[in-house]
Symmetry: C2
Subunit: 181 residues, 2 copies
Amino acid sequence: VVNRNQEVIASAITNLDLHDLARLTCTYDLPACYVVTPLRDQQDLAHQLIAHWCNGVGKRLHPHRGQALERLRIVDDLPRVLQGIQAEWGAPPVVWASSAQPQPAALCHGEARRQLQGAASGASSPRLLLLGTAWGLAPKVLAGVDAVVAAIPGCSGYNHLSVRCAAAVLVDRLLDPGRAG
Amino acid sequence: VVNRNQEVIASAITNLDLHDLARLTCTYDLPACYVVTPLRDQQDLAHQLIAHWCNGVGKRLHPHRGQALERLRIVDDLPRVLQGIQAEWGAPPVVWASSAQPQPAALCHGEARRQLQGAASGASSPRLLLLGTAWGLAPKVLAGVDAVVAAIPGCSGYNHLSVRCAAAVLVDRLLDPGRAG
């Protein structure tokens, strides 16, 4: 991802990134959520947190939480996400990125939803939706994806959702079959 | 709100509740987001955080964040939310609650959206959407509202979104005019 000066950085994982994204993943029945960081101490913290809720005292106090957190996969980089999906689902994914910036030729949410519905009804590749924390995905990541999904429009010039809220809105927009637009 | 044993409690405010809800409020151009807690030390922490981003060094580093956080109001209880809305917008609000549990006679998202669109085009009361952290709003709060908005359906039996993600999905569903369902 990039920071506010457009420099490529590794951002910190917060506790609530893991909880919120895992709960979203489980509520919408997505098979997995990959959390990408090259920082070994961040990976260790994430693994400790997941172990607390999936195997430790957290599992006894609140079993629902482990059910969500067990869908998280902590990996070093994007190539390892692609390898993991290939290993678990037998094919490399079609990769969609998200961005808060208007993108040329962005894939609109309605078209993305129709493609997913088509994919669900037949044999097809897995899909990967990429989101970035901090100031968003790095340009070299955006340049390598199959499509960039349209930005969430909002209702004002301001467009700065957290990655947690942006993920929730996008997943709801892309999976909800009740939507027309 | 209630805890997992259905006891009425005051839950803790997290740093990211304030940031995520403020950014959501600003992106969807909601005029204000009230954060309700009777705990004085939690209120003090929230005020310190808001001051950091609206007036302190945070404002210089990242002016967008203060623009969002200035829409937060920290208050003791629900009657003070109603008083605040009356004072700022000249009328008491119609109060809608949210719940992850199926409710009898819930207001569906499409109908709620149509009511808001009607309200925006004419003179009408402000609307207040209530969300609860922890295990949700207390029964006596739910019993006193004008309507309970339908639960977010999700795609599995699991329905445990964080308040941050639930707020994002509901606000998007209730305000997006591109939706039909």
